[in-house]
């Protein structure tokens, strides 16, 4: 429950919004789906992003730009219409129930790394970049988390993904019923040329350290054809480490993650035929 004195701001310029969030007790508000999970009684103000014109999705040169204000539904519809990023589309389509997807924004799914977000693994796997306001740089999503940019005061303006038609992106989300938080999200991105795997990126979220990239598994795949040996080697290095949780044991989750990993590899084999 929020205080009676909460102030609302509807800035039309990002610079205005930035000035506001630098003040104590004022934060950004996008879709609103985390509001009651973080019952911030000391909140003084909310900065609504709906007038900042951040809900664009378009192709710009070799990149696809997704505004941070886009909802998951917006992105899914775009992906379906343009037949791009099937994996990303699938990840988002699986993420949460239909009405929640109509409200969860891309920016809201990235800011502060919420536990329910399904966006991180596909974006890191796709080597997506974030353009931020308040910090004059473009960061890869991976660095955004690793270098703790996530903790600074900034506004995510847009996500930049290279529109590479050679890229195959496959994502698996694991949960039991639809309206719950994902138990983990696994995303694998590959490029295939002449039956040789290249530029693979294997990312999982829901693990210790928020996310993990399996660089050794990637190395085992890169430059090779998808033989049983190669798959086995890659598998060997795929060892996600999960937190202990009262709901699901780390062993169970590790087991299922391995199953999903093999799932994805087998799907790739099918695609390659």
């Amino acid at each position: 429950m929020m205080s009676h004195d909460l102030q609302w701001y509807y800035p039309e310029k990002i610079s205005e919004a930035l000035k506001l969030i630098k003040k104590e007790g004022i934060i950004l508000h996008a879709g609103g789906t985390r509001i009651l999970k973080t019952e911030a009684r000391n909140l003084k103000g909310l900065v609504d992003i709906s007038h900042l014109r951040l809900n664009h999705i378009r192709k710009e040169g070799k990149n696809i730009i997704i505004g941070a204000g886009c909802t998951l539904s917006d992105v899914i519809n775009y992906c379906k219409k343009t037949n791009s990023f099937a994996g990303l589309c699938m990840a988002l389509a699986e993420a949460a129930s239909t009405p929640l997807r109509n409200r969860i924004t891309v920016g809201g799914s990235l800011k502060d790394f919420p536990v329910w977000s399904s966006l991180y693994s596909p974006l890191i796997a796709l080597n997506a970049k974030l353009e931020l306001a308040g910090i004059k740089e473009i960061y890869s999503v991976e660095d955004y988390v690793k270098k703790n940019i996530i903790k600074t005061k900034h506004i995510i303006k847009q996500i930049i993904i290279k529109d590479d038609t050679d890229v195959i992106c496959i994502v698996r989300r694991f949960n039991i019923v639809r309206f719950e938080y994902p138990i983990f999200n696994l995303a694998i991105v590959f490029k295939v040329k002449n039956k040789i795997i290249m530029d693979s990126r294997i990312v999982i979220t829901g693990v210790k350290g928020r996310f993990h990239r399996f660089k050794l598994s990637e190395k085992a795949l890169n430059g090779n054809a998808l033989t049983e040996e190669v798959i086995a080697k890659s598998n060997e290095y795929f060892t996600p480490k999960f937190h202990t949780d009262y709901k699901y044991s780390p062993e169970y989750r590790e087991h299922v993650a391995k199953v999903y990993f093999n799932d994805i590899v087998n799907e790739l084999k099918e695609v390659m035929k």
């Binding site: 019923v177 309206f179 169970y252």
Partner: protein
Amino acid sequence: MKNYDSEKHVKGESQFVDDLLTPMGLLHIIVFASSVAHGKILKVDYSEALKSNGVAGIITAKDIPGENQIGGIIQDESLLAEEYVHFIGQPIALVVADTILHAKDACAKIKIEFEKLPVITDPREAFKKGELIMPPRVFACGDVENTWKQCDYVIEGIAESGGQEHLYLETQGAFAYPLETGGIKIISSTQGPTQVQRASAKVLGLPMNKVEVDVTRIGGGFGGKEDQATTWGCVAALAAWKLNKPVKVILSRQDDMRMTGKRHPYSSDFKIGLSKEGKILAYQVTFYQNAGASADLSPAVLDRTMFHAVNSYYVPNVKATAISCKTNLPPNTAFRGFGGPQGMFVMEAALYKAAEAMGMEYRKLQELNLMKEGDEFYYGQTIENSTIQKCWQETISKYDVDSIQKRVNEFNKKNKLFKKGFSLMPVCFGISFTNTFMNQASALVHVYSDGSISVSTGAIEMGQGVNMKIRQTVASVFSVNIDRVKMESTNTTRAANTSPTAASAGADMNGKAAEIASHNILERLIKVAAEKLNVKETSLIEFRDETIYLSGKAELTWFQLVQVAFLSRTNLSSQAQYAVPGIHFDRTINKGKPFAYYAIGSAVIEVTLDCLRGIFEFDSVKVVHDYGKSFSFVVDRGQTEGAIVQGLGWMTIEEIIYNKEGKLLTDALSTYKVPDIHFTPKEIEIEFLETIENVAGIKGSKAIGEPPLMYGIGAFFAILNAMKAFNPDKEYKLSAPITPERVLCELYSENVLVSV
């Protein structure tokens, strides 16, 4: 025949407690509850809270004018904790303020100190420490001890079933206000208005006639509002009385999940003895019931567990010991099935294990031991016109179970990582409250001078269609259009001393009471008609389609007759009570005829198990059920489908987890998994058995609320069968819920996960 409120529901016009128009000056209650599972209250400081914005008062046990006691069967439950607390979520004080936000803010300012005491959450541990709700009970017949040596096989084991959160979509709540005539009116989301009335009157030190409880409908009950709604009704009544203002208490979903009791988890030891042909000769079982911190309905739940300890089977020698264990958890309560499913689960588990040990097929063992006509249950009752065999045979033939078996076996031969499993589940569920005195209901029927009809009963509409059934019954007695009949809200001033709407018996008993009352009026109207038409022989008079016929000729309209009756000062109202005849149970020897009749059926359930992920899909649930002469296929089918899905959830994904300190960890919808639309079986097929009228039910129908839930038990064994197909050498634990994680952990040995 649709539900009475359907049109209102789809238009958003149906009102629940929190929707009611409330008067100005309404105050809101937030309940300050215990944060420790067992402790002594050393010090509470309300001073800061009392100074908080908008606070009208903070009410504690000291302010209770009457008795601080809301226990039903056993008087062991206080409304507000005084010196000790016994579970996390136990109410200690009521913070009443002008807005919910102000009440919450004030609640956060209360300072409390506890001396922590040891916490027990496991029923067997409670038993060892002598923490019992009441002394253990034993139901027995024959001589179990001396039969073991006659058995070719004696199998022992442990079976466990978990709790289940009701998750009625409308959370607990009540709205109360003081009446000018002295006394309190409470609008409560309850299945038992008389229970709320009685407890509130006791708490306020008032006679029952000064407390009025009114209920129009509730947004789901499932047993969770049979006894547990009483707490919140009393909370509202107490605050309204103390502050002399209208007050409302509505629990948030998380508070509801944390503070209220659920289905009793059971841990049971079984021992079953069979002949080499597969006939059960003896069955011994000890049930450890996790009752929570106070009795609530535990003794009655325990009763029913014992009554259904042998499900649909004939067992000549039985000894069932039932122990209600006191733990530091919210008092567990009624939930669809009321202990029956838990008892049946152990029986099926015992048979399953026996089949394994004997190398026999589980379904053959089930079939061999099904009750036949004339067989007696071990507590002394026989089933009249038993359809147990018929339902079972019909299930096998109609759904071609032999083909299902063949198909499942072939699939399993061909597929390595996906396995199918199927299982049959017979159900035989006694209909009546196990406490005989509760098998009564009353109705009040008015025929107004314009021909419209008003019906009040003790039945609560919670979506099970009871209002529709009673309305239809009354309309058919008078042979009038159903639109003439209005179902009134359930109110203690119109139906007194009622039993809660539970035990699937609401429609039967209240329907019969309404039928009797209507017939009383009908008799008088027939006499009026005879007099008006100058006829001595009343059998020549016929009521049909709102018209009164004499020897086949239309003479009067319904309206005209009612007018004549009114002007001749005939009594157009009637109150009637119905007590279920022929039932009795002697608790000194635990024998008798406690049930009016039995609800019977069989189901076959097919699942597909993903042996790599542990997740499963229900391919089909196919049922043959004896509904008697159903008079609403839509309502009966709807109840069956809903109950089945709830039963499947109980056995598979609904898992309640408390930590060792007694804190509920699965206290939100994100952590407690309830069936969503993707969970439902791909196919649910229901056949209404061709059978005779059930004279003990209204219009020949049979009760339908609880029985179909138990078909869900079959899903557990279907999954176990699929697991066996994958790894036949393992001995699987008979412990529900069988979540996907448990499946995986059972399929593979402890530390070695399969190399994929």
